[in-house]
């Protein structure tokens, strides 16, 4: 029997605003993402990529349609269950890093532990996550003391702290220079290849598209193209 997809969307719609100001952001999106996939979600601004990512990450709710993430039907899941998914199974990486300025790097990385009853080795796990992103010596620093690339790596370490099975990245290289961006992309590839983490990356970055196993293009709230061949076309992919 085939394994259930990590993400399963059916006819998902979402709109913002009311009346004349109502904007339809998603128009019947259906999508499956299998375990261990690295999927790039591309499209112009306002095409609904980030909204789709937020709905998958339980940060937003659809108006209609079915959303199943890691075997959990989000429409039926309680608020507590959705928070539990975000805490233990889903990692987020944002374009704007979203670090807490008053906390140290280690404090930022371990912040998910504040909302979990699993208090084992919090600091050790935090330091291990920082080591993985190459910031072992930055544990006591504050975000204001870091470069953009370092901040994003702290954000990645935070996303990895709970050892998630699904990593949702919203324009992760958008605020980085090309060299740092390339390092981040390489890290994602490695994560996907070695740890079998499923990645769904919203991006404008052609290089990410080139390493993705699948590229999904969106326009006006709909999936307009799915390219399973993108990988071979661009000569990249997991090694």
């Amino acid at each position: 029997m085939a394994k259930a997809p990590v993400v399963r969307l059916r006819d998902v719609t979402k709109s913002y605003g009311v009346g004349a100001a109502k904007t339809q952001v998603l128009r019947g999106v259906s999508l499956d993402v299998q375990e261990g996939e690295l999927v790039a979600l591309v499209g112009q601004s306002g095409s609904g990529k980030s909204t789709l990512l937020n709905i998958i990450g339980t940060l937003d709710q659809p108006d209609a349609g079915e959303v199943e993430v890691l075997g959990t039907d989000l429409a039926k899941a309680s608020e507590h269950r959705r928070a539990q998914l975000r805490n233990r199974s889903i990692g987020f990486i944002f374009q704007a890093f979203n670090l807490m300025d008053h906390l140290t790097c280690l404090g930022n990385v371990t912040i998910p532990a504040a909302f979990s009853h699993d208090a084992r080795d919090v600091e050790a796990r935090g330091r291990e996550a920082m080591r993985r992103v190459g910031l072992s010596d930055f544990a006591a620093r504050f975000p204001s003391e870091l470069s953009g690339g370092q901040k994003q790596r702290v954000a990645i370490a935070r996303a990895l702290f709970g050892a998630p099975t699904l990593l949702l990245c919203d324009e992760p290289t958008g605020n980085l220079d090309s060299e740092t961006g390339r390092e981040v992309i390489d890290f994602f590839r490695e994560l996907n290849a070695k740890d079998k983490v499923t990645l769904l990356i919203v991006t404008h970055e052609r290089r990410i598209s080139s390493v993705a196993q699948r590229v999904i293009a969106m326009r006006d709230g709909m999936i307009v193209e799915t390219s399973d061949e993108a990988l071979s076309a661009h000569g990249g992919g997991p090694s």
Binding site: S50, T51, N54, G57, L59, D60, E79, H80, A83, Q84, R86, N87, R88, F92, F94, A96, N98, L99, M100, H102, I111, P112, A113, A114, F115, S116, H117, A119, R158, G162
Partner: protein, 576 residues
């Protein structure tokens, strides 16, 4: 829900990193709680002072005053009335009070000052079981004349009478260095020998050492009396300079004029065993225990504020009375009572009985004493009223003190009294208590108004805070915080402001209270029942202030916390 430890850590961290927000939010709470504590402590103290002035535990039942052609025709309160009241289901206890029904005058030495005062109308009696304020009162406040085998009740020679003084000072105890008395039972030496009647007559100038040796006749006698009232210490009643009596007492007793160089006569001292408590009774000529009396705090205050000042006499607060008794024994507070005498001229005609003198002693200050006057065991008053005014005066009570099982039953009891032709005595204390209650309510309203403004301020500050922390709230939600986690964090910060603001408010109140007490001690003139501290910071006031402070702050933070919790994380994170 997130672990409590994480919640506390996060709340404390958030509080510490926003000192400006904290100060802005806590300011109103500090002021509000400060006012709350101060006002409550002030009214609490006012209530305590009031209870000292007007004991509120019991109610007094009296008969409405009715006069017919100038005669008192009021309903009688007697033993049957007491029994009827006791039979009521709401009544726990009923104790009669009996007023002294005829004139009496008191005279005593207080700290070297010769005091004369009216006792008739200012004395009553209650059952000793009702007066139990302290150990000394419990020991001495009883009917000593009813003691069956009092070994101290032995024959003695009483002090001499002074024809110019209705009531002489209560004689003192023989000092250790004084010359011994001629006979144990007859310390009164003088020219009158052992005949007390003779001595009373011959010792015409009894009071005052100035008489000694003066042979100047009546003029000397006058000066003698003067010196006595000028405050020669108790026991100055000198014996026997028959000089002054040459015109008056001398003729009464038929004593020969004294020789010109007669030696100074010995002083009369109390000859009784345990002279602290026993005196030689004029009439029975035996040693009897002094009549124990108690004073009210009101009397002491009246003395201090009205009397002591205007007469240049020493102050005597309640503690001083106890101190004097402790240091110098009971005899420091002894005085004589002239039954049938009066200091008010022309009012002694109510009784035809021969006046006589007894001695009394203040054994303490009691909440059960009549507010203005002296209170003694009812048995004494009953006997004296019987002796001087007849059986009706001995059995007609002035009031009945009723203790109810529950104060809430006062209304039905009061109604029943009216049906019986009786009523509750108008209680000034109840009226004052009502006034203080209203003042306390007013103060509480002011405090609550300040707190409500503080709560609105806190709500406003937290709305700003939540708005400023949108992104942070979004991050927390993204890493696993539930709506209730976010709400708890905001409410926790509000609670911290409440607890810290409450503590600071209490400290502010304590500081203001201490400053005011310091100022008032010297800056505000003494007045009756002026308290040493104007504020009574009871534990319940502190505790309720902390609880209120915390609850009000949580209330202020509730809506912002709810808004924070309901914030869509995706939208919160999008606004960067």
């Amino acid at each position: 829900m997130m672990p409590a430890k994480s919640l506390v850590r996060m709340v404390m961290a958030n509080t510490l990193r926003s000192p400006r927000h904290f100060i802005l939010s806590a300011f109103g709470i500090v002021i509000g709680i400060g006012a709350f504590v101060l006002f409550l402590a002030l009214t609490q103290r006012a209530g305590s002072v009031l209870e000292k002035v007007f004991p509120l535990e019991e109610v007094q039942v009296v008969a409405p005053r009715v006069s017919l052609l100038g005669k008192d025709a009021s309903k009688r309160l007697d033993d049957s009335t007491v029994k009827t009241i006791l039979a009521r289901p709401e009544v726990k206890n009923a104790i009669p009070r009996l007023n002294l029904a005829f004139p009496a005058a008191g005279r005593g030495d207080f700290e070297g000052t010769d005091l004369k005062f009216e006792v008739g109308g200012f004395a009553d009696g209650v059952d000793p079981s009702f007066v139990q304020d302290d150990e000394r009162i419990r020991t001495y406040f009883k009917d000593w004349d009813a003691e069956p085998n009092d070994k101290n009740r032995i024959a003695c020679v009483p002090p001499p009478q002074d024809p110019r003084e209705d009531v002489i000072q209560a004689p003192g105890i023989r000092p250790k260095d004084a010359p011994p008395a001629p006979a144990a039972t007859n310390p009164w030496d003088g020219d009158a020998g052992s005949d007390a009647a003779g001595s009373a007559g011959s010792a015409g100038s009894a009071a005052g050492s100035a008489t000694a040796g003066s042979a100047a006749g009546s003029a000397t006698a006058g000066s003698a009396a003067g010196s006595a009232s000028a405050g020669s210490a108790a026991g100055s009643a000198t014996a026997g300079s028959a000089t002054a009596g040459s015109a008056t007492a001398g003729s009464a007793a038929g004593a020969p004029p004294p020789p010109p160089r007669r030696p100074r006569p010995p002083t009369y001292y109390n000859p009784c065993p345990e002279p602290e408590r026993y005196y030689c009774d004029d009439t029975e000529r035996v040693c009897k225990h002094r009549v124990p009396v108690v004073l009210s705090a009101t009397v002491v205050e009246l003395y201090n504020n009205q009397f002591a000042k205007s007469h240049g006499m020493p102050m005597a607060d309640k503690n001083l009375v106890n101190l004097l008794i402790q240091q110098r024994g009971l005899s420091a507070m002894r005085f004589s009572v002239g039954l049938g005498f009066t200091t008010i001229s022309g009012t002694s005609a109510v009784t035809n009985q021969t006046p006589r003198r007894v001695e009394a002693v203040v054994v303490g200050v009691s909440t059960r004493a009549m507010p203005v006057g002296v209170t003694m065991p009812i048995q004494y008053i009953r006997r004296w009223n019987q002796e001087y005014m007849g059986p009706e005066a001995a059995s007609s009570y002035s009031s009945i003190i009723v203790t109810l099982k529950d104060r809430n039953q006062l209304a039905p009891f009061s109604q029943w009294l009216i049906e019986q032709g009786l009523r509750l005595e108008d209680s000034l204390g109840e009226r004052f208590a009502t006034v203080i209650f209203v003042i306390r309510l007013l103060f509480l309203i002011i405090s609550v108004a300040i707190l409500v403004i503080a709560v609105i301020n806190i709500g406003h500050n937290f709305f700003i805070q939540v708005s400023e922390r949108r992104r942070e709230i979004g991050i927390m939600r993204a890493v696993g915080a539930t709506e209730s986690d976010v709400q708890l964090i905001v409410l926790g910060e509000a609670a911290v402001i409440g607890v810290v603001g409450g503590i600071l408010g209490i400290l502010l109140a304590l500081g203001i209270g201490t400053a005011w007490n310091t100022y008032a001690a010297a800056g505000i003139p003494r007045f009756p029942f002026k308290p040493a501290s104007w504020f009574e910071f009871k534990t319940w006031i502190w505790a309720s202030a902390l609880v209120f402070s915390t609850l009000f702050c949580i209330l202020g933070g509730y809506l912002p916390a709810r808004r924070a919790a309901k914030m869509e994380p995706a939208q919160a994170l999008a606004q960067n």
